[in-house]
Amino acid sequence: MSATPNIKLPVYLDYQATTPMDPRALELMLPFFTETYGNPHSRSHSFGWEAEEAVEKARAQVASLIGAVPKEIVFTSGATESNNLALKGVSRFYKDRRDEIVTVVTEHKCVLDACRHLEQEEGMKVTYLPVETNGLLDLDKLRAAVNERTAIVSVMAVNNEIGVIQPMVEIGKICRENGAFFHTDAAQAAGKIELDVNAMNIDLMSISGHKLYGPKGIGALYVRRKPRVRLQAMINGGGQERGMRSGTLSPALCVGFGAACALCEAEMGKDNEHIRRLADRLHTGLTERLDDVVLNGDQDQRFPGNLNLSFSFVEGESLMMGMRDVAVSSGSACTSASLEPSYVLRALGVEEEMAHTSIRMGIGRMTTESEIDYVIETIVEHVNKLRAMSPLWEMAQDGIDLKSVEWSEH
């Protein structure tokens, strides 16, 4: 392999799992651990007031990113908590009048698991909508599923595995027409694509701090005030966050999260231009030099910083294990304890054998061109090496249709 100047190994290409913190946001956080350590809920002295002021500024920064007003932002520990609070909070409050939930099979595990809980333990009826082969929702199927008993519709904005963007405006319209609340898990979308809660008729939105260059351990739930969305709290206590989420806030985390949101809002155009250029370079660099590489998910309706590719005839875990200096994620079963390939790829109708060959590459603000060039070289080298030892590649080159072979399933 050629020399690799100017890059630090391993290369991080897993921005959907988490992002590094933007140092500018980190710097603003630090004083809140040491000097400005007041409890933001203390009303009787300046320590509390200072902390409160910082928290409220952060709340306004989060709100501004999504076109909301600050009072509509509830700080939580992250998107998993926000998703749970939205689904359980709304269901428990409204279930006498509306006892149905509509969601999608490709949602994040925490949404699906919260829905499963509400279905099995709390008597909600849940509809899990399928997706098309491009990963997008069929709006007619959504229309058919939403009715006057639907309390909440939960559809994620950008998918964490394949990066496709669901038609938010249209979904919001269908929800509003039926009087159902529209919740979106925007953990992968906030700060990456334009989101406007009013233009999209979004009633609840989950956001995560550490997916947008902020700190881990904090997130937010947007809860619409007009028309008002009511929630039953999951955590009871001092009544912080307008009673929806008790517990003392961490001003440091709020400040870092708020600053990260403000940076995303200010630099979204620049970020996206950078990400799109590098993603195109990576995708083109790989497909020009390797045959049988398939992009999973819609070609156009996608966030470019998520490139999910199947390298036919090469099992994903072996590819990741080969390129030890590149941190990516795989839809292959062999990386998980369950030994089942990605349920998201399966929902798109991707065949199991192709799901086993998928690799997700995440590109972000800190990714550099030299890193992308290094990754292209590394992947090409290892895919070729693994194909040379793949009996499936050999059979395919000999013109054998792999579907005609009688395999010994085990």
């Binding site: 099992e315 072996s318 294990m321 062999c334 199991e352 009996p391 499936l392 395999w407 085990h410």
Partner: protein
Amino acid sequence: MAYSEKLIEHFENPRNIGSMDKASSDVGTGLVGAPACGDVMKLQIKVNDEGIIEDAKFKTFGCGSAIASSSLVTEWVKGKTLDEAGEIKNTEIAQHLALPPVKIHCSVLAEDAIKAAISDYRTKAEEAGSGGDRELVSEQAAE
């Protein structure tokens, strides 16, 4: 997942990758697993007149553990008689490579691949024997 040094070494420097002529009468081929399950192993053995495995080759589609398991068994079967090779147990493979519990099936597949290759070779030898072309075989051997 944390893998043992032996496993990583076999994965990074796999032994005996390749293919032999499937149609040849002294070659036995085992193809086990399925693409949908994420692993397919092809193991081939070349058997000499004394019934000793003198060469072995593999090709594997699968995770690192599957590749390492196949590489290891190609080393182990060489120089063994068919009966000896048939006695290799998946537990020995798993133990040697320190496979984590979720990867035990890779060693099972490797054991299956050896058995399938031996069985393919024996089937071919029997067919050659009962097919009445033994003379041809010995003639060729005499050349």
